[in-house]
């Protein structure tokens, strides 16, 4: 018997790419670079223009990168020379707004683990610029800004997307790296499970009089948690959660009035404070895609899971997806497997879906436990914190968890 005619989707496969990555954010770019390490070609489709992405000024956005994420950036040659502030200590406290002395209940110190600082603070603009520059220099990556996907097609032989201008891109595997509202997931019929917290996060950067000494603070205040994360120089990033209505009110205030509301929330240990960048407000909700993979399709980052940003785990979880997927694809390619076959994609899903569901549940529990002024809960968590503090083994476990060093580590996150 002769081989039957090639299906239409294969006609363009000769000049097709390996990965069609929908979404030019941090995770999409990181995946293209990680895949290039094992010889895989990517086309990155970004709906936004490059100059929007690469705007040079500081806009107040920054990330708390766990040690595992830092290792990955090092492995991808993205770390050297990137301005970053190490976080040597994390102090977790339970408090009340306006209390003069903030009770320091829990203390995590990087000196307790051998791997070094448990994390670094990196500004969004620096990370984004570095990713774009490195990507432009990589011959295996085609970067297409201002490319909006309007349709997608997957079949046993390949995947393709149609852009707004009618252009068609063909490849082996389609990646949804297009955020919480992922069109890629929607077009594939992947449903999401999610719930809100009736809270919003207010985010800003501040400049302060006194040095932060590389200490990050996590304060559990009754209206919601507040994190003070050290940036380079005498600056810190503030992530501050408030009930929905109250958050909107605060967000509408002038800069001066905003600072007046913020000041009493963390005392005066940093001296006088002022705003250093724009202010942001984000709804706090948790969403999880019901599947991370479908036929010739995989979701990474917020497209797969949007967690409550209470512990700065959003980008870290996304980079972990990227590292795990790149790991699975690299090994499949070396074996000669079809990188987009159901068995290969299932390895990625099995690896990441359990971790993510666990993180989502833990973050949720944490938030419910601490965003509360009930006397009984308060007593309970204070006892819990005292116990963790008294047990070095347990404390080290928390530090290693925060550093992203627990679980099965992908190649890119190993030392």
């Amino acid at each position: 018997m002769d081989n039957p005619g090639r299906p239409p989707i294969l006609r363009d496969m000769e000049n097709a790419t390996d990965l069609i990555i929908v979404g030019g954010g941090l995770n999409g770019c990181a995946l293209a670079l990680a895949a290039a390490r094992s010889g895989l070609r990517s086309t990155v489709l970004d709906a936004l223009p490059t100059d929007t992405r690469a705007a040079p000024g500081f806009d107040g956005r920054s990330y708390a990168l766990a040690l595992a994420s830092v290792r990955m950036l090092q492995a991808l040659d993205l770390w050297e020379g990137l301005p970053a502030q190490p976080m040597n200590e994390i102090k977790v406290s339970d408090g009340r707004v306006g209390d003069a002395e903030v009770f320091l209940g829990l203390h995590f110190d990087s000196d307790e683990i051998e791997e070094g600082p448990m994390g670094h603070m990196v500004e969004d603009r620096h990370l984004r610029q570095r990713l774009l520059q490195t990507m432009e220099a990589e011959p295996l990556i085609t970067h297409m800004p201002e490319s909006r996907v309007v349709a997608q097609q997957t079949g046993p032989s390949g995947a393709s997307v149609t852009l707004e201008d009618g252009q068609e891109i063909t490849g082996k595997l389609l990646i949804g790296a297009d955020g919480r509202q992922s069109g890629t997931a929607q077009r594939a019929g992947i449903q999401r499970t999610g719930w809100g917290y009736g809270q919003r996060a207010l985010v800003c950067a501040i400049a302060h009089e006194k040095p932060h000494n590389g200490v990050a603070h996590q304060l559990f205040l009754p209206p919601g948690p507040l994190a003070i994360l050290p940036l380079t120089e005498n600056r810190s990033s503030i992530v501050w959660s408030e009930a929905e209505g109250r958050a909107q009110e605060i967000n509408a205030l002038s800069d001066e009035d905003y600072l007046t509301v913020l000041r009493p929330r963390f005392g005066d240990f940093l001296g006088e404070i002022s705003l250093a960048g724009a202010r942001y407000i984000y709804p706090l909700n948790l969403t999880l895609a019901n599947a991370f993979v479908a036929e010739r399709l995989a979701l990474v980052g917020d497209a797969a899971h949007g967690v409550h940003p209470i512990a700065g785990q959003g980008l870290n979880a996304g980079l972990r997806d990227v590292a795990a997927l790149a790991h699975v694809l690299a090994h499949a390619r070396r074996r000669g497997e079809d990188i987009a076959s159901p068995q290969v994609l299932e390895r990625y899903q099995r690896w990441r879906r359990f971790d993510t569901a666990t993180l989502a549940a833990a973050t949720d529990l944490f938030n419910r436990l601490f965003s509360n002024d009930s006397g009984l809960l308060r007593l309970g968590r204070d006892i819990g914190m005292a116990l963790v503090n008294a047990a070095p083994g347990l404390r080290r476990r928390f530090i290693r968890e925060a550093a992203g060093l627990t679980g099965d580590l992908p190649d890119l996150m190993r030392a």
């Binding site: 018997m1 032989s157 390949g158 090994h331 070396r334 074996r335 000669g336 497997e337 076959s341 299932e346």
Partner: protein, 246 residues
């Protein structure tokens, strides 16, 4: 577009059978579970023997590889994807159009033939690598069969052969476990008395004119539900590499 005289109903049937062969949760689930581990061994051995870098495109370009007992093409397709020129043979005629149909879907060119190792020798074929996976425990005369495998190799060629050990554990795992309890394989797939121990296989290969160079175990971890290669545990499934003297 190739013209074809094959009945469209037949094509639909082959497509359904190809889908069955390639369904990771279907009838051939145990092979799909074992496949990454088998491929790790095969690709590493070939790359080592022929000094190829697995990180480049088409690392096996220029190598001619024969897969005996190719089934739906679970090993042929990865070899073709790595750039090798691949011939797949199977004694079961119905597997051939099934494997061809799937190769076409994958956009790969593979020469599938309904024939036997002995007939290939008669035809004077020669290969750089012969893959002889999970076949030797099914043949009537293993020595004659392994001799044919050696004749199919070019001088210095690589022969990779996997099979099942013969002991109480392999009986429990392969026959009671895989065939009767898990229903992974149809009952009667294996005949325990035909299983071969690693030492017996080394001896058979030497008698067939091959030089055994390596052997490893395939070990199943029931917690991670995955197979891995082991240097020490060859108690159930195992794989060997041997060379034809140059």
């Amino acid at each position: 577009m190739t013209t074809t005289t094959v009945d469209p109903g037949e094509i639909a049937k082959f497509e359904a059978m190809a889908a069955e062969w390639w369904d990771p949760e279907g009838k051939f689930k145990p092979l799909h579970m074992l496949n990454p581990c088998r491929l790790d061994y095969i690709t590493t051995q070939i790359a080592g023997e022929y000094d190829r870098d697995l990180n480049v495109d088409a690392p096996f370009e220029g190598l001619r590889i024969l897969d005996i007992g190719c089934g739906g093409g679970l090993l042929c397709e990865p070899m073709a994807r790595l750039g090798a020129t691949v011939v797949g043979v199977d004694a079961a005629e119905r597997n051939i159009p099934v494997a061809r149909t799937h190769a076409a879907q994958s956009g790969l060119e593979i020469d599938y033939r309904h024939t036997t190792a002995e007939a290939m020798v008669q035809a004077g074929e020669a290969f750089d690598v012969v893959l002889n996976m999970e076949v030797v425990e099914h043949v009537a005369d293993p020595l004659a069969y392994l001799t044919a495998c050696r004749q199919l190799l070019k001088p210095g060629g690589l022969h990779i052969c996997s099979t099942i050990n013969r002991n109480a554990k392999s009986f429990a795992m392969a026959i009671v476990g895989a065939e009767y309890v898990m229903r992974w394989l149809p009952k009667g797939t294996h005949e325990w008395s035909k299983f071969i121990t690693p030492d017996e296989l080394y001896e058979l290969m030497r008698n067939a004119g091959l030089d055994p160079v390596d052997r490893k175990g395939f070990v199943f971890n029931p917690v991670s539900w995955q197979w891995r290669l082991s240097n020490r545990d060859l108690s159930v499934n195992y794989v060997t590499a041997a060379l034809k003297p140059a």
